[in-house]
Amino acid sequence: MRFENPKIPEGINTSPDHPLKEFVSLLGGVLLVIAIGVGVLSLMAEFLAAGIPFRYETELARYFQNSTTERSEIGDYLQEIADRLARAQSLPADMRINVHYADEPVVNAFATLGGHIVIYRGLIEKMPSENALAMVISHEVAHIKHRDPIIALGRGAVIGIALAALAGISAESIAETVVGKAGLLTALTFSRKQEGQADATALAALVSVYGHAAGVTDVFNLFTDMQNENFVHMPEFLSTHPDPQRRIKSIEQQILDHDWSADKATRPLPQL
């Protein structure tokens, strides 16, 4: 009796496929599913968040507000402009705009939860006229009118929770980090569509307050120039926009469509 251990053929217990092939198809597939899931969830969150009553948003804003700005002449001036524009945009009765003036050189302005708008000194200094400044404020008021901050928060929260849950069920901690990174990309920002709508509402309100649309395009040209000079330091006002030129075009189109005059004299900024 003779025994023999034959040579076992290769490629039965292992796969001859290239490991990179599996890597690419898996990563592509998972990212695609995450992208679709994030898209669907943000649509749902946006739809539902807009229905949250404004007083809840005001309550919520207290958690985020860490300092109360003291009253100042500039603050009152900005508040006055905002109130006029808010009336022009016919905000709901319970929606109150609070403008905060921040004495910092940052060229920025943003709208946040609870009807708060923050305007930085740096931005005001860059503004060529009151009309241009009013356009920025009107844009931020329009964000609040459209409930954009709470929509962004709702979207961020829902996506954050969903991705955390997804990362929790995956066995490997590495997949967790990748999923977590995808979540970071969806920070509290307004979408391109939200910005476009805010522009349209803002412009209409500006025209009804000042009677013309002069000084509006100055704002966008100014930021485009700044963006070209130093793209790292882009103001929030433009930051979600990869394409400010298109935004200017749609503004100009709106001015043309309504036959608003844009060449009237702008009102200078008061010395404050």
């Binding site: 251990n5 217990n13 292992t14 490991p19 599996e22 898996l26 997804l166 995956s170 980090t177 990174k181």
Partner: protein, 154 residues
């Protein structure tokens, strides 16, 4: 965020380049040594045939601990989301099993044995799936090496 991403991509690339080159070299070595040790026969049967003249027995064993690389682990992590064949782990365990058997055979040859009966394989996870630990696995092969009279085996 971007710094994290760069570190991650670098780790992934390092894992891929080194992991794959180690794997290729290991397979070459496995194939060569399997050829060399082909005349040490392994059997899963508990006892040798009755008519085999046994001159001596020894417990022989081969033990391997092998670790995954970053790339394999990442692909396996993605695979765990959708299910299916974990190809990157299959080659890892295939290498570990064959290496363990080879080490066992090596030991048997040192005893002058040419047959190993009752060959068994045990697998143990070192990390037991704990988070942030090194995903490594031990494969242990053992059996009874038998020295027979020359006339019988070869």
């Amino acid at each position: 965020m971007t710094a994290d991403l760069i570190v991650f991509v670098v780790l992934l690339a390092l894992g891929y380049v080194f992991g794959q080159s180690v794997e290729r070299r290991h397979y070459r070595s496995i194939l060569r040594r399997e050829q060399e040790l082909q005349d040490v026969l392994t059997f899963s049967a508990k006892l040798p045939p009755q008519d085999l003249k046994v001159e001596g027995t020894n417990l022989v064993s081969g033990n391997v601990v092998v670790s995954v690389d970053y790339f394999k682990r990442f692909v396996a992590g993605l695979r765990a989301l959708v299910g299916g064949r974990m190809r990157t782990y299959e080659t890892l365990l295939d290498r570990a099993r064959r290496e363990a058997v080879l080490r066992m055979k090596q030991q048997a040859r040192q005893f002058g044995a040419d047959m190993i009966f009752n060959v068994k394989l045990e697998t143990a996870s070192i990390s037991k799936g704990a988070k942030d630990s090194i995903g490594s696995v031990e494969v242990y092969a053992y059996g009874t090496a038998i020295n027979t009279s020359d006339s019988f085996s070869r």
